[in-house]
């Protein structure tokens, strides 16, 4: 690695420095656009006591769900956690702390964390269990609650293409939380399907500028589909 070149050659190198009890922000929605190999590397490393910030927690044998059997996750901040039997078991037994967070609030917490905004007011969650213990304030007759931003020791991200400088392009709805996660990690690690030379990506088409990216690795992906749905007449 030299200058702006962010490329690393092994997953071990990509996740170097991840320690017990750190906070990790992960991109992805369901199993779409998840950094599947970086998650596998966390499993291999055996890091424990992690706080995970992710919209979902994968399924039993894929995505973040694979970190559950060895109890690597202490706490998860997510908007929706169905579809996972081991998750439900650990949550019901109090082995896993779950902070349910509205999806838009979760996205905005990451965005704010990456943008140096410590907290923001939102109407989402006012008058619900989400508002408990949070400051409330009225603007123009509407009620809002104060939501703190989130920052991670690590952010793990899946993009489609990158140049060696870490400029990223995402593909279709695999974008989701990834660009937001990318901004909010002290160390942001990105895995991609293709790495090109600087200058090959049109600057107008870059979704995430390389300034947010610390490490970049080329991966190969299973891209499992959670709800395979086809139309009948096709």
């Amino acid at each position: 690695m030299a200058g702006f070149d962010k490329v690393v050659s092994s997953y071990e190198e990509a996740m170097a420095g991840l320690e017990d009890n750190m906070t990790v922000i992960a991109g992805g929605f369901g199993l779409c656009g998840i950094p599947e190999n970086l998650i596998s590397e966390i499993k291999r490393k055996g890091t424990k006591g992690l706080t995970l910030v992710s919209n979902n927690c994968g399924v039993d044998d894929f995505g973040l769900g694979i970190l559950l059997p060895d109890r690597q996750i202490k706490k998860i901040i997510a908007s929706y956690v169905g579809e996972n039997a081991e998750f439900e078991r650990q949550m019901m037994n109090g082995e896993l702390e779950v902070e349910l967070t509205p999806q838009g609030t979760l996205a905005e917490k990451m965005r704010a964390g990456g943008a140096g905004i410590p907290a923001f007011y939102t109407a989402t969650g006012y008058g619900t269990p989400v508002a408990e213990g949070k400051e409330e304030r009225e603007f123009d007759g509407r009620h809002y609650i104060l939501e703190p931003a989130i920052k991670g020791d690590f952010a793990i991200v899946k993009a489609w293409k990158a140049d060696r400088y870490g400029n990223l392009v995402f593909r279709k709805t695999a974008r989701n939380f990834n660009p937001l996660a990318a901004t909010a990690g002290k160390i942001t690690v990105v895995e991609v399907e293709e790495i090109v030379e600087p200058g090959e990506l049109d600057p107008d088409h870059i979704h995430t500028p390389g300034i947010y990216v610390n490490r970049l690795i080329l991966g190969s992906f299973e891209k499992r589909i959670e709800q395979r749905t086809v139309r009948n007449d096709a």
Partner: protein, 218 residues
Amino acid sequence: MALSREQLAQRVAQELQDGYYVNLGIGIPTLVANYVPEGMEVMLQSENGLLGMGQFPSEAEIDADLINAGKQTVTMATGASIFDSAESFAMIRGGHVDLTVLGAFEVDVNGNIASYMIPGKLIKGMGGAMDLVAGADNIIVTMTHASKHGVSKLLSNCTLPLTGKGCIKKVLTDLAFIEIKNGKFYLLERAPGVSVEEIIALTEGELVIEGEIPEMTF
């Protein structure tokens, strides 16, 4: 007769207008897409980051990178756009979506909605529902009027944890179309063949009946 799932979707579709951007929740709301009136253009917003959701794909079109908020594989309609989750919820929270349709467990006379959690039983999370109910002005809740055991879901006070406070104005159940204002339910329409008395019997919150209540037409 109580409305079928398809009829619920059909009745909601009558509320659509040409040029509407619409967010449809999982379940019955999703079916509304099948009943967009001929000649009308409606664009579907999927909160995972897609505006202009198309139909389900053929086998050949399936793309793991293209799903809807229910995690189902989908396609993109002509003129679709893709964005990240913060942008998606900026649209929702900023009040740019013209109509939101979603399900619920309970609704009450103050426009409160409970739809995401049954303590001790169902704890899966709210997903985008809290953002949708807080950010949208025009929301239709679709639900069954009462449980299988005849327990009303239209209440004077919600009993389950709330998804949103004071944000629901229209409810379509399998028995009735109801407006919420001034801390009361107002009966607007009844399902074909369902009497006002039946609806009163299954509505726990205060229900106002003004004049003749028309049957829904399809």
